[in-house]
Amino acid sequence: MKTDIILAGVGGQGILSIASIIGDAAINENLFLKQAETHGMSQRGGAVQSHLRISDCEIAADLIPLGKADLILSVEPMEALRYLPFLSPEGYVVTNTTPFINIPNYPDVEAVLAEIEKQPRFVAIDADKIAAEIGNKRASNVVMLGAATPFLNIEPEKIEAGIAHIFSRKGEAVVEMNRKAFKAGLDFAMANK
């Protein structure tokens, strides 16, 4: 069993926190893991990506080869498209539909979403809206994590436990809110995949 995931977003959107929750769950399951991150210049509002590789046997390269990713998990729709050359023909695109517009020439949002809908397998979810409905806009990454969970080959309970662990310092109310966000993302993906 091997899962190759490309996480995508914009510097400052916090894709590494998603990666670290998945990573902790994988290590707790005694799986092998390699995760290449973007640090440095691009973190100033540039395009950022992380290659996350999980497997039950040893992993060679830190980078996923082209055409081999099982999943593109993007917290921003245009960024999901940037990494399509990495996606395997059987792979899934799971993306947030709320754009992050910090450049003057951001393309027409409808056209971006239309490109996503052209993909053979995708889940397009308005994570920002769902997070706001739950009561905390900042939980949109946890909604995305929930939406990606059906494709991770790790049981949802294990990921949920990781979320509870990470937010435990902030009190029961915050944990509960993030659980809700996670569930909302998961349910959406199960219904729309």
Partner: protein, 539 residues
Amino acid sequence: MQKNLFLGVEAIGQGAIDGGISGVYAYPGTPSTEITEFIQANELALQKGIRSKWSANEKTAYEAALGMSYAGKRSMVCMKHVGLNVAADAFINSAITGINGGLIVTVADDPSMHSSQNEQDSRFYGKFAMIPILEPSNQQEAYDMVREGFELSEKLEVPVMVRITTRLAHSRAGVIRSEVLPEKEVVLPADPSQFVLLPAIARRRYKGLLEKQELFEKTAKKSKYNEYIKGEDKSFGIIACGIAYNYLKENYPKDDCLYTVLKLSQYPVPQKYLDKMAKHCEEVLVLEEGYPVVEEHIKAAFKKDIQVSGRLSGALPRDGELNADLVAKALGKETQLGADVPELVVNRPPALCQGCGHQDMYKALNQALDKYTKGRVFSDIGCYTLGALPPYKSIYSCVDMGASVTMAKGAADAGLIPSVAVIGDSTFTHSGITGLLDAVNDEANIVVVISDNESVSMTGGQESSALGKIESICTGVGVDPNHIRVLTPLKKYHDMMVQTFEEEIAYDGVSVIVFRRECIQAAAKRLRKEKKMKDNPNK
């Protein structure tokens, strides 16, 4: 055995702590910064009192690490590749003085220039200094090599280089730790003249270094990090250096590579392995991250006519980072490709944060220079370099740390007046002070802008050596105090900022204008830390 999920840089930090260092010395630089940050925050390192504060630049860091080694203790110095240019004088000479306590020089190269001005290969420097180089292929090796590297340095009596690249630095994997080795006591070198590089002594020491080369090679031959794997098909050989070994393995997931492979992670290249390869291989492919260092080496080292391919031959691109796909192509294997990137996808370059003080500074500078022809602003390396991009397009150079002040001076000498330098606080104390002294001594007609955000921001907000010292440094160097102006870069002071620029441009001499406002990211980080301290005062 518990696995720690470490970035390559964290594995190196932990390896150094567990290897018994008494101090780490460094100036920040992507992708090396987090090594020192890891040690600064590590409980065990804090308990042991391992010295870890930032240095003013890579040269001061290197020399201090060498001083600690002189005194008998183990030390590590870390930098990004271009940092070694700054520390090169100390570095090359330290191979000749040799060491006392084990000394590791960890250098992080940045092929593909993810966050750098060039992609120079530090193995060239290692070869130039004639010292052993360790190049880990994964995070576990990075940990082990550093932990054991101090002993290797002590045994061979020279500094040892650990060379990594961005990919390993910023990739996480499980690492198993070994027992923590004790720190060393202060013991002076047995040979009291060892560190005195007067010509007569230097000649003797240099001969000694030359004589040791054979030992270095033998040690590399015996190293557990180098492995000669005999293949069924003996006509074709592959030399895979450092992390490139992983890209090779990625192409043979079932371990079904039929060729002879030399996994190379410790240099100098052992000639015995090359001789072995030369016996039956007709062609050898070199996979290496960076410059064609090994490819060039083996072309000369093979004693017979063997076809060598790699980055020089065109089998692999001459520049940029390697990956499994490029290696597959070089091996003549089929590669897969996903869908194309849709045409509507545009680049998303990095930019200054909204509300950053550098923005206000550039707006005022652009207005003050509007009446002159373009091309008069020399800049430096930091967040403010993003002022080269729209909407500011304010600056015309970014070469190496400190070059803004000296290039502005040279241009003013040539008659380009006004001529302006824009430098950050950390870059100013890294390498700007000496240039300012030149300008003062030469009575140059320049305006030096120090855009002081009270932090080393480009690399993630480390503490700046310049904090609270800039005006007194400028006065001390000899800038007329009437022409050291300090302003707050905020929209509401825009007119005052423009006027100050105009006044100082009109002054025929060295002016310094300090724009001081804390970086908003650094401020947010500080506030989070203060809140944590308040919530949890015992931590």
